[in-house]
Amino acid sequence: MDLTYTDEEEEFRARLREWLGGVLPALPPKPSPTDWPGRRAYDTGWQRRLYDAGYGDVHWDASPTTRLIFLEETEEAGAPYVGANFVGLLHAGPTIAAEGTDAQRARWLTPILRGDEVWCQGFSEPDAGSDLASLRTKAVRDGDEYVISGSKIWTSHAEVADWCELLVRTDATAAKHRGISWLAMPMDAPGITVRPLRTLAGSTEFAEMFLDEVRVPVGNRVGDENDGWRVTMVTLSFERGTAFVGEVVACRRVLGELAAHARKNGRWDDAVLRRELALLSAEFRALWRLTQWNVSEAQATGGVPGVGGSVFKLRYSHARQRLYDVAAEVLGGAGALDAAQDWTLDRLSSLSYTIAAGTSQIQRNIVAERILGLPKSPKGGR
């Protein structure tokens, strides 16, 4: 049990910190949340800077510990988030790297790392919900093309993406997990309609995507036909180990800010509130240690994270919601109801954490069945 970093890791941290200190002040101003081309340019510009400085592939090639340090340092320095590069860097890219042909890797990987091309994700569907594998978007083979119709939801950056990693049903007669294929769909193909989806926070970072006989070359399929579910699952679990590193660092910073704010406005004297802050501090300290634990485990097992990601996500998503509920208490009265406060918007967006990427109910099933070995419920018992 060692919580100190190696000399090599400390050097990486120092070098990165120095580089961040130099490059961050020179960044262009942050675009408005509704300026999609501006957001794309900002995010891809940042990725290009990382690439040029040798940090472009930190999500792919670096060790889990190095990645942890990278995420910790960039968050603490206030560097831009992965943003529009998220799907390319953390989903589609790793999938193509692991399952693609040489030609596919050559075509798609470097543009992702250089920030030249942006990807979006076409997995979720309105009628599928938690049961992702019941997706119905249909791809019918026509010569060396698939003809695709259906609709997707919760697609981020669809407005400005070049490519979409798309899950489609290529065999309607097979069992639901067995008839799915993974395609790279060019977003300029005819038949694609993107419509922004407004969240309860009033923001439009997600979109619905309607596909009407969109034609995609068969050569854009990664993995075998009807093997898309396995292809996808590999990537989804790959991403879990370090997915929340930056967020935990950010939550700890917010917690410190809350304490400072409470000391200033007098709420600190309320022992009940102080206790809530203390319990959150215990919580996020432990979640940070759990992150280091999971990362160390991933490092030891060659980068393959276990189902520990579900354990982390379960606890973290509820802790994050509590954090912003307490933020509202710290602000108190008018402050708690003020949508101009960042904390209010964060409170609203935290509501999605127990739902997105597998509801807490689904995560508990996973933990109980896959870690604890409790019996799978028969149909109806899930």
Binding site: S130, D131, T199, L200, G333, A334, A336, L337, T359, K379
Partner: protein, 288 residues
């Protein structure tokens, strides 16, 4: 002792629900969200229906009903998410000309906040002048808010009526969750057949029924500790109810299109306007 609704009370509740579902159903609600101005025609109609005057003696144009009846009516307003300073106008009826009839819109300062300041004809409570009031970007699209520096405690009648609205909202989010759980299918069956969803809904109902007993009893006894208990339990039922409803709805619950966020945000607003939780807790502690 007969701690149940009388036939008259039942008729009042059903009549109010019918009026509101006709006059402020889902279409009207979503239209109000898109254009959040106070609908003075609706206000007038509510006044004509007796919503603001029901507590006044018959000599003053009211029907001489008590707080118990007011609570039933405000519960329905909470269910329907009726916008506007209902509580302040109700409390002003008899004191402020035109409040009872719905001709005058009255707001009041509660806990340093003023709802619907720009739309109101009369402002009560708080500092002498609200000229220094500062507009807030209200988290609730259906409740414009200003803040003023002076934050006296919320009068107990207002606390009780806000609790009644919370109760109504909690009942409505329960209904929404149950309806969704019956209709939405996942993994080949209604999500309501999954024990996890079932138990979420069951706990929502328990919170509603416990809050209902507390709110109704507070209206009857008008005891400060009972009002405090009603406030705490109704706030909890409304806020947690909306959140559980959101959870049952999954991703769709996170959209602007779903009504659940309107309930959650309004529940947050009412929790602040209705009085500070810590004050209510100290009232209860002191009574022990």
């Amino acid at each position: 002792m007969h701690f149940q609704l009388t036939d008259d009370q039942r008729a009042l509740r059903d009549g109010t629900r019918e009026l509101l579902s006709g006059r402020f159903g889902r279409t009207a609600l979503r239209a109000a969200v898109d254009a959040p101005t106070l609908d003075r025609d609706l206000w007038k109609e509510l006044g004509e229906a007796g919503l603001f005057s029901l507590g006044l003696p018959e000599s003053a144009g009211g029907v001489g009903l008590g707080l118990a009846e007011a609570v039933l009516v405000f519960e329905e307003c909470g269910r329907a998410l009726v916008p506007g300073p209902l509580v302040a106008t109700f409390l002003a009826a008899g004191d402020v000309d035109g409040a009872a009839s719905g001709d005058t819109v009255v707001t009041e300062v509660f806990g340093g906040l003023v709802p619907w300041l720009d739309a109101a004809d009369v402002v009560r409570g708080g500092p002498r002048s609200t000229s220094g009031a500062e507009a807030l970007a209200s988290v609730d699209p259906l409740t414009p808010l200003h803040k003023v520096p002076d934050a006296g405690p919320t009068p107990w009648r207002a606390t009780l009526l806000y609790a009644a609205e919370q109760l109504g909202s909690a009942g409505r989010t329960l209904d929404m969750a149950v309806q969704h759980a019956r209709e939405r299918e996942q993994f080949g069956q209604p999500v309501g057949a999954f024990q996890a969803v079932k138990h979420l809904c069951a706990e929502m109902l328990v919170r509603v029924e416990v809050a209902r007993a507390a709110v109704y009893a507070a209206a009857v006894t008008q005891d400060p500790a009972e009002v405090a208990a009603a406030e705490l339990l109704a706030d909890e039922a409304a806020v947690r109810g909306a959140r559980d409803c959101l959870q049952v709805h999954g991703g769709m619950g996170f959209t602007w299109e779903a009504d659940v966020h309107l309930h959650l945000k309004r529940a947050w607003v009412r929790a602040e306007l209705g009085g500070r939780a810590r004050d209510a807790e100290e009232v209860l502690a002191a009574a022990l």
